[in-house]
Symmetry: C2
């Protein structure tokens, strides 16, 4: 069974971060300073939106790229698998950020209607950084795991 | 009368940028690399959401801070005034970014229901950087303008 949003489970190296938020009569503000709030220097951001119901995105790992995911509108779930195990996370608020280290197989699914996912990435786009063969990913993980 | 989203008007130093977007059956992706797409190094981001109808936010200028505004969900309008004049912009898509240079008096208004505004800022938070007295702002602008 997958643990959900359970940071104590240490099921994977993925980690959920709570960012400062300020609420007043004019609305809500969530703030992050790149040097202190995001666990890596961000070279790129991207926004995922207009995802049809029942669509799964992701389904790959990155060799070197760190990612930090925020559901800035609506919600989605993120599945993460690495050398330590598997976990899933519910992202449903703009002050929650999920850090996915390199060598994490990740999927995003159960996007709510109108959901928008903001992702900060540590690397510029490089197709060579993507691992999209799951069996190959597991083989590399096991190789990495030898001797640990 | 205010020009809206008219980049040829040069009414102010504020400028609208169109970022790359990729649409397929799994949804839409908008991408920006910080070094090339954002006109300044970003030290901070913030997200504005849950803004009640008929609320105006902003109403200040920054002495040194650049900002880059994206309506990542829904829409809002941004009014901008600087040494050159006044303009207003409609932000209604995640691939549109508005650069507000320092010494621009800006307001955000007409937030649609569920609108979320993402802002990248060139500086960490510094209350001394804010100018929230409009008359004082105009005085400084006129002082800046002398001799130009």
């Amino acid at each position: 069974m997958l643990a959900e949003n359970d940071s104590d489970s240490r099921a994977t190296g993925a980690s959920l971060h709570t960012l400062p938020r300020f609420v007043d009569a004019r609305g809500s503000l969530c703030v992050g300073e790149f040097a202190s709030a995001i666990p890596f220097p961000s070279r790129r951001y991207f926004l995922v939106h207009g995802v049809p119901a029942d669509t799964t995105r992701g389904g790959h790992a990155h060799r070197r790229c760190h990612q930090f995911l925020i559901a800035v509108s609506g919600s989605c779930r993120v599945g993460a698998e690495d050398i330590h195990g598997r976990t899933s996370f519910l992202l449903d608020a703009p002050h929650l950020g999920l850090h996915l280290p390199p060598m994490t197989w990740a999927t995003q699914y159960e996007f709510s209607a109108g959901a928008v996912l903001l992702v900060f990435a540590s690397e510029t786009y490089d197709p060579e950084d993507y691992m999209d063969d799951y069996v190959g990913f597991l083989s590399v993980l096991r190789g990495v795991g030898i001797g640990r």
